[in-house]
């Protein structure tokens, strides 16, 4: 399906979005066509949801041409802390 791995995506997101935390999950059973990611970055601060998601889409523009199913959650460090406390 695609040559991408969890590590590819995590490295790229960390680098391009200066993410303090990234977790990518391959949900494709290894064929590389379906991923979900969580990205925590200062860059998201003050941005509406759509803009946060656009930043992630832009960082992974090349990869998303091949990955056919992609789901993302984007948080600022504070939002991420809250999410973790709730869990």
């Amino acid at each position: 399906m695609s040559q991408y791995t969890v590590k590819n995506l995590e490295d790229k997101l960390k680098e391009q979005l200066q993410a303090q935390y990234v977790r990518a999950v391959d949900e494709s059973d290894g064929c590389g066509g379906k991923f979900s990611v969580i990205v925590v970055s200062e860059l998201f601060r003050g941005k509406p949801l759509l803009q946060k998601h656009r930043l992630v889409n832009k960082a992974l523009a090349e990869e998303l041409q091949q990955i056919h199913a992609f789901s993302q959650k984007t948080y600022t460090p504070e939002e991420w802390e809250k999410v973790q406390q709730e869990q």
Binding site: H53, A69, S71
Partner: protein, 168 residues
């Protein structure tokens, strides 16, 4: 994809209104007939679908969805999730099946600068894909977004009725 449905179901259950799921399931068959105009294949799909065409297309209804398959038979879990959300809110919308028209599929991606399908437009404005719709739904913001364009969500209506009954 099960994860998406599970989170949808979970959301319905934790909602403060207990009877929502019953209401929407009971109303579903009738609603299905009314809920959406959908477009399968155009007679002769053009090679490209340009900005002008799409400018018009996203404004043909207050809510317009570009998806894989149609609302009665979505052909992708993400598209299905959007259909289910719209159904819960009782929204009437236009649905376009991008699998029937490759030019539309490419055209809409470029138009909204968004790499994935489904895509949801409200009042001609791009709102987001499945993840964003799900979040808007779960936070309650979707009710507000719909209200802005004069659509009263079924979830809001049910909530108001419940409040009325409690006052009696």
């Amino acid at each position: 994809m099960n994860r998406i449905f599970q989170s949808l179901l979970r959301q319905t259950r934790v909602c403060s209104i207990n009877n929502i799921s019953n209401v929407s399931i009971a109303a579903a068959p009738l609603r299905l007939m009314l809920a959406s105009r959908w477009y399968a294949a155009d007679a002769a799909p053009p090679a490209t679908v340009g900005k002008e065409t799409l400018d018009k297309l996203v404004r043909t209804n207050k809510v317009v969805v570009f998806m894989k398959g149609n609302p009665e038979a979505p052909r992708c879990g993400f598209s299905n999730a959007v259909v289910q959300i719209m159904r819960m809110h009782g929204v009437q919308y236009d649905a376009h099946d991008v699998l029937q028209n490759e030019a539309l599929r490419q055209g809409i991606k470029e138009y909204s600068d968004w790499p994935t399908i489904p895509q949801v437009f409200i009042n001609g404005e791009f709102v987001g894909g499945c993840d964003i719709l799900m979040q808007l739904h779960q936070s309650g913001d979707l009710i507000e977004e719909l209200k802005k364009v004069g659509i009263v969500s079924d979830l809001l209506r049910a909530e108001q009725e419940q409040e009325k009954n409690e006052k009696k």
